[in-house]
């Protein structure tokens, strides 16, 4: 006769588990946190860059941080008032759809990227890439050419070309700086700065000539 089962003689199922010895407290990199943001162009903020040897005026894009309490963003992250305030000043907020996958280094559309770090998330543009160096620190590489090309593509399509006075003011500031440097003792450093300033002035001048040509064409087309 078999031994009857008692209340304690029940088969229990247990599952295999690997013992854990813990690990590094955090494998996340250390980055400076920065909130998500909208890029926007201001009417008077321009710079001159060279693309394929040609001087081009591109807008300097500022960031509107989407951080509650900063610049009009509400507790719930609603940035509509912040955007309206910028637009009232003549700023143009850059839409995410204005960046195609072909225009970014990583092949994804949109201009905002996010890196999660130990102290929070750092948001950056698609043309800035984080890398870990040999010491485990985050270093940033920047695709300046790609960024400049994309910004140049916005001009005329989404952002009006700069007023001629903007270029004039830019050139004035460079000329003032050159006058200041020219009055200093002749040293290799000052000579280098003079050379860089003159080169910059020449590039600004080329943009001015190109813009004047376009304006003259438009005037002639209008007259005809």
């Amino acid at each position: 006769m078999p031994v009857p089962q008692t209340a304690t003689s029940q088969t229990l199922a247990s599952e295999p588990v690997r013992p854990s010895v813990g690990g590094p407290r955090s494998a996340l990199p250390v980055v400076e946190p920065f909130p998500g943001f909208l890029l926007y162009a201001q009417p008077l903020a321009w710079e001159v860059v060279e693309i394929d040897g040609e001087a081009v005026a591109v807008p300097i894009l500022s960031r509107l941080p989407l951080s509650p309490g900063v610049g009009g963003v509400t507790s719930h992250g609603d940035a509509s008032v912040a955007v309206a305030q910028k637009q009232a000043r003549g700023c143009i907020v850059i839409r995410d759809e204005w960046v195609t996958a072909e225009e970014t280094a990583d092949g994804h559309p949109g201009y905002l990227r996010r890196l999660t770090g130990r102290n929070g998330e750092q948001h950056h543009t698609a043309w800035t890439r984080p890398e870990l160096n040999a010491a485990g620190h985050v270093v940033w590489s920047h695709d300046a050419d790609g960024y400049n090309r994309w910004r140049a593509s916005l001009v005329g399509k989404h952002i009006p070309a700069p007023d001629a006075r903007v270029l004039g003011d830019m050139a004035d500031m460079v000329r003032t700086r050159l006058d200041r440097i020219a009055g200093r003792p002749t040293t290799p450093g000052n000579e280098a700065q003079l050379g860089a300033g003159k080169a910059r002035l020449e590039v600004i001048g080329r943009v001015g000539k190109a813009a004047a040509k376009v304006a003259t064409k438009a005037v002639k087309a209008g007259a005809a």
């Binding site: 920065f34 903020a45 894009l61 900063v70 509400t74 008032v81 912040a82 305030q85």
Partner: protein, 306 residues
């Protein structure tokens, strides 16, 4: 020889490591812009019925000049030009949670309620500084060249830009990243002419601490690691601004209901929440604060190589 008494064999009555008598704070920038006179406090939203404070900006006190009026001719009205800037207050918070066991064994006192409350205040001041530095990118006037180190010429360009806009630049404030400050110092070392003989220039050649880093040509320098990168390039985006360019608003908290353990110090409210089932004590610091740009022409962005 045998049976020596060695440290390596005394595992039962020695420790692998003993804690030092005092803790060291991790390297961090602990200088903040909270309550700096260059940043205007526009008010408190307590009892106002809105989380937004609108600051009127009016064309008074010499903006409109008198005009010559011929004898026997009437004069006409001149309206006051008005504009406004709004600042939205939002919650800023930090939370820590500690177990009773760590509280029992802790020997440094840094988990005591008053120490944690101090930590909360410092956390708010750091957050306030980060909020202000995030606004520097918003000034429409920019000096500095992308990818080029900051120089004394950029400094002069910034002052010139503010002066041309009609600002009173004495006692303006420049908030710069340590990289920008050190590049400026490098530039001053090579400066010649009358610049090299100035006391403030000589002062800038000294090593500086985070926070107030001296004055140059009448403008205060505030050095902060919280000055952000451009996000689209390798530039640090600092700025120089006069009082009236940036402002902040607060929401002073009222004593909370439902908890007997709280501390209110200025804008900061620290509450302690007990979870007996988990043997946890939660410490939460809340500040209701907002920052915003008041007048764009009173500031200039300084964007230089990082």
């Amino acid at each position: 020889m045998a049976n020596e008494i060695l440290y390596s064999g005394a595992g039962d009555y020695t420790l692998a490591a003993a804690l030092a008598q005092e803790i060291q704070l991790v390297l961090a920038d602990r200088a903040w812009l909270w309550q700096h006179p260059a940043i205007v406090g526009v008010g408190d939203v307590s009892g106002l019925g809105s989380s937004v404070i609108k600051t009127p900006i009016l064309s008074l006190m010499g903006v409109n000049q008198m005009a010559a009026v011929a004898e026997g001719s009437p004069t006409s009205n001149t309206d006051i030009t008005d504009t406004s800037a709004s600042i939205t207050v939002a919650r800023q918070a930090l939370q820590r949670q500690k177990s009773d066991l760590i509280g029992i064994v802790n020997q440094y006192g840094h988990l005591a309620p008053d120490a944690l409350a101090m930590d909360m205040m410092a956390a708010f001041e750091a957050r306030f500084t980060a909020m202000i530095t995030a606004l520097l990118d918003g000034f429409s006037s920019t000096v500095g060249t992308s990818g080029v180190d900051m120089s004394f010429d950029d400094w002069v360009d910034a002052i010139t830009t503010l002066e041309i806009a009609g600002n009173s630049v004495q006692n303006a404030l420049a908030v710069l990243h340590p990289r920008q400050v050190s590049d400026l110092r490098q530039s001053l070392i090579a400066a010649g002419g009358p610049v090299q003989w100035r006391d403030d220039v000589a002062g800038q050649l000294n090593a500086s601490n985070p926070g107030f880093a001296g004055q140059l040509l009448g403008v205060d320098i505030f050095r902060s690691s919280l000055v952000p990168l451009d996000g689209g390039s390798d530039n640090r985006v600092g700025g120089m601004f006069c009082r009236g360019a940036l402002g902040y608003a607060l929401g002073t908290p009222k004593p909370p209901l439902g908890t007997a353990d709280w501390i209110i110090s200025g804008p900061l409210m620290v509450e302690f929440e007990r979870d007996a089932a988990y043997s946890y004590t939660k410490v939460v610091g809340n500040v209701f604060c907002g920052v915003g740009e008041l007048q764009d022409a009173m500031g200039v962005e300084i964007a230089t190589d990082a």
